[in-house]
């Protein structure tokens, strides 16, 4: 069954069809939530909340990009979660240090056929990017994630974020500027990253 048929069945209340959509999109939704929230527990809560919300609202889906529709829901769920956490801050039982960051990156999909040295450098770059993303203000992070990581165009981003096109453009430029500043601190890593980018196309 294709995506459109699954959506139509889910709109009729078929939970199995909806769950097949969940399986298809859960990595994408979790990735967005993880990068928005910056830590796995909140990302897990936001993802769960987003899928429940999506099931409850699926009748309001009127075509267009289902991915963009889901991204809008998960983004809203992240903001709700952030507000909730701000009202009732939680204290982690475990100390947070650089070791934790290494554990968090276990969920990355491995790149088959990659040399160990390359893999190590790529992993280092990924961590640098994640670290810089965390440092961005959430409203800038949201936009750069939608455009540069999820690959939405400006118009879709404007709809998902509920912002005017001009705001999307300026926030994206500022987010990219700050990312560049941040990655600049990693020195050689960013320079050598050009090579990886060039190789991967």
């Amino acid at each position: 069954m294709d995506e459109k048929s699954l959506i139509m069945e889910a709109q009729k209340g078929d939970l199995d069809s909806f769950n097949r959509l969940v399986l298809a999109y859960q990595n994408m939704v979790y990735s967005q939530a993880y990068r928005m929230m910056g830590e796995p527990d909140s990302a897990d809560d936001a993802t769960q909340e987003a899928f429940i919300s999506a099931f409850n609202k699926i009748r309001t889906y009127r075509g267009g990009s289902f991915k963009a529709w889901l991204l809008r829901i998960v983004t809203n769920a992240c903001y709700d979660e952030l507000r909730r956490r701000k009202r009732r801050p939680t204290v982690s039982l475990f100390p947070q240090n650089s070791q934790d960051d290494q554990n968090e990156s276990e969920g990355w999909f491995p790149d088959p056929g990659e040399m160990p040295e390359e893999a190590a450098q790529r992993s280092e770059l990924r961590e640098a990017i994640e670290s810089c993303l965390k440092k961005l203000p959430v409203e800038f992070r949201e936009i750069i994630l939608l455009v540069d990581i999820q690959g939405l165009d400006y118009k879709e981003t404007s709809t998902v974020a509920g912002l005017p096109l001009g705001t999307v453009k300026s926030r994206l430029a500022r987010a990219r500027f700050r990312m560049r500043e941040c990655l600049n601190q990693f020195g050689e890593l960013f320079t050598s990253a050009h090579r990886f980018v060039g190789e991967s196309g």
Partner: protein
Amino acid sequence: MMNDVVPPIEWEELSMFLDEQLNPKERERLESKLQQSPELQSALDELRALRSMLRSQPEIKAPRNYSLSTDTVGIQLKQRKGGSIFPALSFAAVIASLLFVFVFISDLTYGGPQVYQSTNVIEEQAEMQLMEKSLPESAQSGEEDGGIGEAQPVPIEPELGELEIMEAETEELKSSQDETRQIEPRYQSESQPGEAIDEVNNNLPHLLRYLILNRMALRTLEIFLVFVAVAAGLGAFYFYRKRD
């Protein structure tokens, strides 16, 4: 090396140029700038590399399966129900409070003893008129029955001295009333039953006019609004606490 000489405004233009968001004129202008400025060209290369790096970031694997069960959806729907009641209750509390304040102020402004007295006076006048109308009819019907009905009251003619005294007293009373009107015109105008009613009629909508003139209904509405405001407020507070 990163380029730090490009000002943020040009960086924004570069960002839009990269995503093909500039109009042809802006694009042409920036392209000529890029040819003249190696720093700007370098910044564009960095921006392109940054975007490519971000786009090549892989998805993060979800730590578990997020498929929904009927139980999860059911529980969440129940919680959501509570969540959706909260805004409705708080809205009801606010509206009820505002309506109460509005009705109460209207009551103080347009209502009060003057209007209630006026309504009583008008009712009494109406009753009197009805009685006056009914009297001659009964008298007439008595004549038609052939004079068998009640005997007509015989007017008692007062003596001449008494009549003069009564006329003099009436004249005195009239003149004292005129003086009172001249000294206290405001009091007199307020005491006119029709004017207070007219003020209510002219300034208020029909429903509120009815309520102002009907004291019992007004009090009932005020009590009802207070009850709704308090109950909805408490309910909203309960669901707000429960939601968190």
